[in-house]
Amino acid sequence: MYEQMFLIRCVEEQMSADFHAGNLPGAVHLYIGQEAVAVGVCEHLSDTDKISSTHRGHGHFLAKGGDPKLMMAEVYGKKTGICQGMGGSMHVADFSKGIIGANGIVGAGFAITTGAAWAAQLDGDNKVAVCFFGDGAANQGVFMESLNVSTLWNLPVIFVCEHNTYSEFSPSDTVTAGQISDRASAFGIPVEVVDGNDVVAVWQATKSAVEHARNGSGPAFIEAKTYRIHGHLEAEKLFLGGGPYRSDEEIESWRKKCPLKRFRNDLLSSDAACEAEIDDIETRVHERVEEAVKFAQEGEPADENLVFDLMFLGQKP
């Protein structure tokens, strides 16, 4: 799990640098600080299980086994990208790995995942579907609608709320009333609220949630309390001008709670891993990231004609 978390962190730090160097088109929303959630959850999933993701989707993509090369090339807008350059950062998806897509519409994942979970139920082979979403997304009504349908139909879906205390630039308590987990409890869905910066806690909560869903007991809900260290999107400093919406101290205090540092320390102090092993992992990850960047940079530009082939299958638009 540490390797996955470190991979996400490094890929995204690379992206941040690339963005500010002007190498990335479009908007980039980084997951830095929330890595424990994606990794702790996806550890319980196989390629045939599905996850849906958000505008902040790189971490989920990688945690679910997506290839950093293919993702990086996508964000670079290349033909070699996982979506052939058609989707970009907000739309990374790899259906072969069960990654049914990051999504630029806040809340869109609820219904799509519920539909995927219905399909999983009909397939009858104990697959599950996981819906990652933010605290802000929990205010979209489709959240409640999906809770209702999945409860009624007893669908194998796990709703994972990443509560990072902001909904875009709004502090969560200004736009989200009450506890989000209570909204799920209202349907009798089992809920767990965990420290989202503690990968082991997330892992444990997910274990029971996934078992619950897999054995046919219906939906489950997890709320992971966490924080995004970077801005809502990388470009935010450019347009928010003099209007900061959070303090440097706040960011600093969360940097101290960094999920990677914490897990690293836990591993070392519990003797689950030694410095050398961790260094090895980190070196390996750095190599993979370099390789991914190289792959992305060297990739051919997107094919301009492809869009006409892809709108429909076997039909011109």
């Binding site: 599905k50 849906s52 990208g81 996982i82 979506c83 052939q84 350059g85 058609m86 989707g87 739309h91 998806a93 790899d94 259906f95 072969s96 049914i100 897509g101 999504n103 630029g104 519409i105 869109a108 609820f110 219904a111 799509i112 995942t113 519920t114 539909g115 995927a116 979970a117 219905w118 399909a119 999983a120 009909l122 397939d123 579907a129 009504g141 489709v142 609608e145 999906s146 209702n148 349908v149 009624l152 139909w153 492809l306 869009v307 082939d309 892809l310 709108m311 429909f312 299958l313 076997g314 039909q315 011109k316 638009p317």
Partner: protein, 323 residues
């Protein structure tokens, strides 16, 4: 051939396609009992795994259709009235119409959405919209609007067997109308207009619910010595532009009839296509017969006043004939 009601033809298509492919599943509000009669009996035959009533939550239903289709099922979603398409519009416009491109073509989305459209029953503004033009604007969904029993059956089968999202617009007030339907298994191709009435003086392009008043108009016009050719596009996406233009090349005059509100209607678009590709053949202005830019009033007389009928069509034809 057997004479069948429009709604019965739809019902048969659903039965046959669900029989043919067990990956076909159907859901929506009260589809088990069936308000329009199109889904009647399906539950009994196919069971609740494949036919499911849903809660009232259109925004989620359209999204679920995307999720289930992307996971390998052929999804039929019944939206009841076409006005409820608006309620579920987000996942239609932002997901259904875009997800395949956004994922670089990783998935197919075999989704058929049924919705009953059209006015004429005093169902008032929120249950009477004809909104295929909105769907045409989206770019990523097919739109079909069958005008008779045979096309209803054939186009629905093509939609369900197809691999792309398709909106199947049911002429809800015309469910009881009878028409000849082939007895054998058949499908009707997308993108091929039909010419249910040949003529030489003027082309009337007419869509869905508007075929009936169009035929009435054609009869009256014939009595006045005007030979009208009726072209029914049958599918609006894909649109048989060539078929339409071919008829105009023959007649040189055209009227487009559509139950949409006028602005940015299917009629507008078809007129625009003709004004481009068929311009050289045109002998007269292109007239549109549409609903004015208003929503449907409740009172039957007020509703009838804004709904296009044979009279409006005749007037438009006479105008383009210079009479």
């Amino acid at each position: 051939m057997t004479r069948k009601r429009y709604i019965q033809a739809i019902n048969e298509a659903l039965f046959e396609e669900m029989e043919r492919d067990e990956k076909v599943i159907l859901f929506g509000e009260d589809v088990e009992i069936s308000m329009f009669g199109d889904t009647t009996g399906l539950l009994k035959r196919f069971g609740r795994n494949r036919i499911r009533n849903s809660p009232i939550c259109e925004a989620t239903l359209t999204g679920m259709a995307v999720g289930a289709a992307a996971s390998g099922y052929r999804v039929v979603l019944h939206m009841m009235f076409s006005n409820f398409i608006y309620t579920g519009f987000d996942a239609i416009a932002n997901q259904m119409a875009k997800l395949r491109l956004m994922t670089g073509g990783q998935i197919k989305l075999p989704i058929t959405v049924l919705a009953g459209y059209g006015a004429g029953s005093s169902n008032a503004a929120q249950h009477s919209d004809t909104n295929h033009a909105l769907l045409m604007q989206l770019g990523g969904v097919n739109v079909v609007a069958p005008a008779n029993s045979a096309d209803a059956k054939g186009l629905l089968k093509t939609a369900i067997r197809g691999d792309n999202p398709t909106f199947f617009m049911e002429a809800v007030g015309r469910g009881g109308e009878m028409g000849e339907v082939p007895d054998e298994d058949f499908t009707t191709p997308f993108g091929v207009a039909s010419v249910p009435h040949a003529g030489s003086d003027v082309t009337i392009v007419s869509i869905g619910t508007m075929l009936k008043p169009t035929f009435a108009a054609v009869k009256v016009l014939a009595e006045q010595g005007i030979s009208a050719e009726v072209v029914d596009p049958r599918t609006l996406v894909p649109l048989d532009e060539d078929g339409i233009v071919r008829s105009v090349q023959k007649t040189g005059r055209v009227v487009v009839v559509d139950e949409s509100r006028d602005r940015c209607s299917a009629a507008s678009h078809i007129a625009a296509v003709i004004a481009d590709k068929g311009f050289s053949a045109l002998k007269a202005p292109i007239k549109r017969v549409t609903v004015p830019n208003v929503c449907m009033p409740y009172a039957p007389n007020a509703e009838a006043a804004v709904l296009p009928g044979a009279d409006e069509i005749i007037a438009a034809v006479l105008a383009v004939m210079g009479r």
